[in-house]
């Protein structure tokens, strides 16, 4: 296993390097630029080629793309994430301030997502073709179909119309006022978790149904074990491989979901930072954002792969 982990870790920097080239190139394929935005939305009264050239030089865009890339990646690997073109704030400082917010949201999302998804899936499988199974299937499909930006809007609007309630503002840091912070974060976390939990529930149900039909489960029942024991100790563990994969993916979907949820609920996290940067063509921020979350996703996938062995002893890492 050590050798496997070592090989995977060796691949990590190569993966990140390739990712960085992809991210850097992809962003530059997006039409428009910070120069155009500045010249057009700013004060284009007498903007001419000279103004454009000065701004390009100011942002380092006058150099060939490959030189820009080498400069940027060298800077990143030396620990300097650069500064925002828009606010000139250190990107590292911004990440330091925003990352805990998004991590908290992700953790809360996972705490809701995993028990809700697996719990409903297992319950639905055990109660196959009964009223509660049908109800759960209906609800999971419903939440699969509802876009989370719309759900987030409804979650704000409906309590307001019915009870005059709105989430307390402004955003409070966890370490400053945990109670208020939890009130502010729990609803966004639920919104972010629901669609994912619906997928997890659907997969958990089908996996569980398959496992419950296995001979060893029938044997367990024949031994006289209680249904609860059979399901939790014998069946559930054997459904976990695909579920773990899905749970690993929630990191990616959770980050993507945070982009919308943080906008709607005025949470100053990484998702909102990305939206703001995209809207203003703040490329240094977008590049670093995508690179870091890409690298984190690679790491999470490694952890997921390694965890397979915990649930299925037959899996060997070679």
């Amino acid at each position: 296993m050590r050798a496997y982990v070592f090989r995977r870790m060796l691949l990590l920097p190569i993966t990140v390097l390739l990712l960085s080239i992809f991210v850097f190139g992809l962003i530059r394929l997006v039409p428009g630029s910070v120069i155009d935005a500045r010249l057009s939305a700013g004060f284009p009264g007498t903007a001419d080629a000279d103004d454009r050239a000065k701004l390009e030089a100011h942002f380092g865009l006058d150099k060939p793309v490959h030189i820009q890339y080498v400069n940027w990646i060298g800077q990143v690997f030396s620990g300097d994430l650069g500064t925002s073109w828009l606010t000139k704030e250190s990107i590292l400082d911004n990440f330091g301030r925003r990352m805990p917010v998004t991590v908290e949201l992700l953790v809360l999302t996972l705490l809701i997502y995993i028990p809700l998804g697996i719990g409903t899936g297992v319950w639905s499988a055990v109660r196959q073709n009964r009223a509660d199974d049908y109800s759960i299937r209906f609800v999971t499909i419903l939440f699969l179909a509802i876009p989370n930006f719309w759900l987030a809007t409804l979650v704000v609007v409906i309590p307001l119309v019915l009870w005059g309630y709105a989430p307390p503002l402004p955003y409070q840091q966890l370490w400053e006022d945990p109670g208020k912070n939890l009130i502010q974060m729990i609803v966004p976390a639920v919104v972010a978790a629901l669609a994912g939990a619906a997928v997890l529930g659907r997969v958990a149900r089908s996996e569980m149904l398959e496992v419950l039909r296995q001979d060893y489960v029938r044997t367990a029942y024949a031994k006289g074990l209680a249904a609860r024991i059979v399901v939790t100790r014998h069946a559930l563990r054997n459904t976990m491989i695909p579920l773990i994969t899905l749970i690993g993916l929630v990191f990616a979907t959770g980050v993507a979901g945070s982009v919308i949820v943080e906008q709607v609920f005025a949470i100053p996290g990484m998702g909102r930072y990305l939206v703001q940067s995209l809207l203003t063509n703040d490329l240094p921020v977008v590049q670093v954002w995508m690179l870091i979350f890409g690298a984190a996703f690679v790491l999470v996938n490694l952890l997921v792969d390694l965890s397979y062995g915990m649930f299925d002893p037959r899996i060997r890492f070679q």
Binding site: L55, L86, V156, G164, L169, P268
Partner: protein, 599 residues
Amino acid sequence: MSERNYWQRMRSNQLSRRSLLRASARAGVGAAGLALVGCGDDDDDNQQTAAQAEPDQQAEQQAQVVQQQEASQQEQQAAVAQAQSSGGPKRGGNVRIVMSDGGIFDPAIAIHGGTYAGVHQIYDWLNYLDEGFVITDGMAELPEVVDELNFVYTIKPNVFWHDKPPLDGRQFTAEDAVFGLERFGFDNPEFVFKDRFSLIDKFEATDELTMRVQAKEVFSPILSAIAEDNMLMVSRDAVDAFGDGAISTDFEAQIGTGAMMGASREPEVELRLERNPNYYKEGQPYFDGYVGLGLVDDAIRIAAFVNGQTDFLNYQWFGRPVDLDSARAELGEDAVTGVANPVTYGMATHIHCEVEPYTDPRVRTAVHLATDREQLIALSLGELVIGGPIAVAIAPYGRTEDELRQLPGYRSGDLRQEDLAESRNMLDAAGVDLGGFPPMDIWAPDASDYAQVLQQNLREVGIDIGINELTTADALAARQNREFSMVMLGQQGASDPDLLYNDLHTTGGQNYGNFSNPEFDALVEKGRSVFDVQEREAIYNEAQDRLLNEWNPRLYWSWSTVIVAFRSYLKGFRPTPGPTASNAILWGMWFDEVPDGAA
């Protein structure tokens, strides 16, 4: 006065009930995109005159300005008097406003209303534009007009910098004013207003409180250029102490002379300002402080207002009539006050005059005649009004909807049929291939619906035109690089009819469609060299008439309506005209009763 009536009429006529759900379902990201494009303060030389060349004209002009100002002040006093019946202006409370400052504070760089509505409360103007674009005394008295090239500003003796190092509450001087204005022209690639004063020869402090402005040539919009909403005074001491870059990004470096002083700022979360006890307007501001909340999504913004966590529904550019309806539906008509704010940006369709078939003015005029403005405006749910080349808010130059509706191209019913027939005749005369029009570029998704209406309008005269949807950035780039045949985008704001010079003069910076006509050039060149309002009005009337009847280098169809909505317990609100809808004048407002949470 007719202008004011116009806006009052807008307020009363345009608003219709719609549900909160409908308003809230509008995408916040789209609004943010709109804001980023639409709120740009882009005019370089758009100013309103307050002075004259000849001495007698000067006196007359000064008298007009003073008269307008007095009328304006009388109105304000009337508003105060009205409020006094319920106890008069009261001090106290922290006004809570939705805002987003975008993290750029430097007035020489900041280009959107978010900053003006927030951090820029810390700064102040020498003169500013009050309602009706009237130049009004601020830290300096109204300028003495020595001649058409020389103006003298006298700084008021009770203007002080905030009591923070390195300024430590010292007197604001003429040297400060000179630096504050000259700084806009410093050689910094990010300074976007650097050509504002390209026709100024020099700013000069002649004594501690007197500044002389000398122009290189006659330029009638000069005084309103100095009074525009971005012309906020930054101090040399702060620049020296914190560095030029810090003025843009460091909240601690924000030291001005404004009604509010910086207290704290958490990016995108909360901005706190506190009352400046030494503000030069005696007894003001009435608020103890200012709390700006960083909310970008429509649903949470409306919810926070209805729920009582904010006092303004849509303080910046988000002043949509539909939002006011939503809030009133929840809180009641009387609980929410909506005031139309004269802004000068909107939507227009730029036509490239060097791209076939638009090289022929008859084709452009045919397009103008075929466009159904009523249909286009109807899509905006009250956010846009029908407009001509000069924004209606720029009185007396801009034309009202009623005036425009009498003109070919703006008419409806049978008269529209006449316009369509004339359009077809022009196309026949021009001999163009009606199926060969290049597709129009549009700013999607914001302009998608409008583009489809225009497409249908043009089909009525046989023109078959496709639609090419572009992202905001791409549409801006296409316009900036002149790589379009027709592009539907935001229309930049201004505070003076001289915007036509910038928009359409052969050398105009925003002449995206490369329109060039010596007669038009001569008209707008004359317009910026004349101080007399009536003479200017005649010039710009002729320019507008000929633009709409003969040249049509741009398809004009709308200007924005901004409805600033706030809780009715707030009194003394004063709409601020301008390109950015910045609504920066807060010092005269007060809480009639301080609500929970604002104490």
